[in-house]
């Protein structure tokens, strides 16, 4: 065994240990201390981590600015909640059902809109988000309108009913880890690199033989699938959903997380999600300054860190500049 492989295994073990410590041991201690409120905050932070990761795949890695992500989150939540209450399906069926509903909705939206470029695509997703919100609000006979859907049955897996807050938290943590791991693998595969090439120059990518439209639809489908999964988890862990949770402001919140963390960087997106969910809780004394803090953090991070906390594009730009000068065999001449 060479030294490289040893280092790799060691870093894996350290990562796993840190993950277990942060995701399992700390909440256990909190629950023993009776701070159940923090576990609820952690639940919503983990759900938003999945959302930020899925948003990062579409907006960060493939460069398609999506302004209606909360709508797919909502479709997943409603699919899971209605399947659980009206059809009485168990959790292990409703969870993938929420994801599939979100993914199918995403692909249906993507099919006509994917040929739109830059701002037109954002506008179309914004319109779709509003259409879905209006539908959830007004289709009273199916979605129960503004009253929302209540799930009375707790999460049941393998015949065990997870009623305590901590056990629900552990389920969410495991699901979030799996989802984020899949998204991480996807962004670091051939697929992810093809998406990066779309973001940098889609005409060039097309010239190299990549089917741009197909790839974008795939990326959008995967991203909305995970948004739907997040929605199903929300529906089951909170037990109550209403159209208010899936508005434009939620889409902006998810976008802000990705922007603060750095477009295209998955760890950045997760950190942004944690920051924007936990910051208002830490600063609770400020009361209704919650959303003001979100707006201010978003603006300051765009102004001061245009690449976000862990921007990916800066590294690519740097490499491109290096290669440019190497190819041209001369010093770069600035525009100024």
């Amino acid at each position: 065994m060479n030294i490289n492989a040893k280092n790799k295994i060691r870093s894996r073990i350290i990562t796993l240990a840190v993950l277990i410590l942060v995701l399992a041991v700390v909440p256990g201690i909190l629950s023993v201390l009776g701070k159940s409120y923090y576990i609820q905050v952690a639940n919503s932070a983990l759900i938003f981590c999945i959302l930020a990761a899925s948003m990062n795949l579409i907006t960060g890695t493939s460069g398609l600015l999506c302004l209606g992500h909360a709508a797919f989150f909502g479709i997943g939540a409603y699919a899971a909640a209605l399947a659980a209450t009206d059809l009485g399906l168990p959790f292990w069926v409703t969870l993938p059902l929420g994801g599939i509903a979100g993914g199918i909705a995403g692909i249906l939206v993507a099919l006509p809109t994917m040929r739109l470029i830059s701002i037109y695509f954002s506008v179309a997703t914004l319109g779709v988000g509003e259409i879905i919100h209006v539908t959830l609000l007004n289709w009273v006979s199916f979605t129960r309108g503004p009253m929302g859907v209540q799930i009375y049955e707790p999460i049941t897996l393998f015949g065990h009913r997870f009623t305590s807050l901590l056990s629900v938290y552990y389920i969410i943590a495991v699901l979030a880890c799996i989802s984020i791991w899949i998204i991480w693998k996807l962004t670091n595969s051939y697929f992810g690199n093809a998406l990066r090439s779309l973001r940098e120059d889609d005409q060039c990518a097309e010239a190299m033989g990549i089917n741009v439209v197909k790839l974008k639809i795939q990326a959008f489908g995967v991203s909305t699938f995970f948004a739907g999964i997040a929605g199903a988890i929300l529906a089951h862990s909170v037990g109550y959903i209403s159209p208010d949770s899936f508005q434009f402001s939620e889409s902006i919140l998810i976008l802000a997380m990705v922007v603060v963390g750095g477009l295209g960087s998955l760890p950045g997106g997760l950190l942004g999600a944690l920051l924007l969910i936990l910051l208002p809780e830490v600063a609770r004394g400020l009361g209704d300054f919650r959303m003001i803090a979100v707006g201010a953090v978003m603006f300051l991070s765009i102004l001061l860190l245009p690449r976000g906390l862990f921007g990916e594009t800066s590294a690519i730009d740097l490499a491109r500049r290096q290669f440019n000068s190497a190819w041209n065999g001369r010093q770069m001449v600035g525009w100024k």
């Binding site: 006509p112 739109l116 506008v123 509003e130 976008l255 765009i302």
Partner: protein
């Protein structure tokens, strides 16, 4: 023709005029900066709240209230440009002007400011609806033959026509209008012949936001309700009108805004209030899929 339908058309036209006034601001700013200003709906809210302050604590006459709302909108637009847009125009070179990252950074900063303005207003005035004193409310009925209209509708239609005329004069008979048209046509060329890009952009924000602010107070006086989130729905409809009109054509935006307003008020005959919002968003999706350049795009001169 049924008199009820005629009334619905007038209702729709007055709603459409409000969308048109907001859409013009969007269109002017998009024409000059090539960026969608997502905080434009907040100019509408600021205009309404400035008018509310004048009414509630200063008891000024109606005409003065509208002028104050106009001025508040303009000042807010200039401040917004200085704070949210100026910092992102640090790099004036061609590569940065064309880069998508710069455009998206500006778009996101305007989104951030839209959240900030809304929340700050909510912090000072509260989230609940503010009511306008009865003396200022513009819904006295006016009978025209067998039809009944309200004074607010006439105010909105009349003053919008005046404002559109004023805008046309500014754009085509003043130096600043010439500069706005030049920059929206070819920013780099206009810069090379010595136009001040910064001054023109500030002027554009002032003009566009004034129209938005005036629209805000007029809707407030007509409907009698002012609240921090009031800007969201009309500005989204105005945005739809702008996209339908082709993003950078003012006549296109105005015509589409009127069509949108009339279609929406007609739709309330066939469906409930909540579903009528669907009309605008379906128009948006249909336009984007079948006319990606907008219905009045490409064929007209920009701005």
């Amino acid at each position: 023709m049924d008199s009820y339908f005629l009334m619905q058309i007038v209702n729709g036209l007055s709603a459409g005029m409000i969308y048109a006034l907001i859409a013009i601001g969007f269109t002017l700013i998009f024409g000059v900066l090539n960026v969608v200003n997502f905080a434009h709906g907040e100019m509408y809210t600021i205009g309404a709240f400035a008018g509310l302050v004048c009414i509630n604590s200063l008891h000024w006459p109606l005409a003065l209230v509208i002028i104050v709302a106009l001025a508040a909108g303009g000042v807010a637009g200039v401040v917004l440009e200085k704070v949210a847009f100026k910092p992102f125009r640090r790099f004036q070179d061609e590569a940065s002007l064309k880069s998508r990252a710069m455009r998206e950074a500006t778009l996101l900063s305007s989104l951030a400011f839209s959240i900030l303005i809304k929340e700050i207003i909510q912090h000072f005035f509260g989230a609940e609806m503010q009511t306008i004193p009865a003396g200022y409310l513009l819904n006295d009925p006016i009978k025209v033959g067998s039809l009944t209209f309200s004074t607010g509708q006439f105010l909105i239609l009349g003053s919008s026509v005046v404002m559109l005329g004023g805008l046309q004069y500014v754009l085509f008979h003043t130096r600043i209008g010439l500069a706005i048209r030049a920059i929206s046509n070819n920013p780099l060329g206009a810069k090379y012949v010595g136009l001040s890009v910064d001054k023109t952009i500030i002027a554009t924000f002032a003009v566009g936001s004034m129209l938005g602010g005036a629209a805000g107070i007029m809707v407030g006086l007509y409907q009698g309700a002012i609240f921090p989130y009031m800007g969201y729905a009309p500005s989204l409809k105005a945005f739809v009108a702008m996209v339908m009109g082709g993003l950078s054509s003012i006549p296109g935006a105005v015509v589409c805004a009127l069509i949108l307003g009339v279609c929406e008020s007609m739709a309330t005959n066939f469906m409930t209030q909540g579903w009528s919002d669907m009309v605008a968003y379906s128009f948006l999706i249909i336009t984007l899929i079948f006319f990606p350049q907008g219905i009045f795009g490409a064929r007209r001169e920009r701005v």
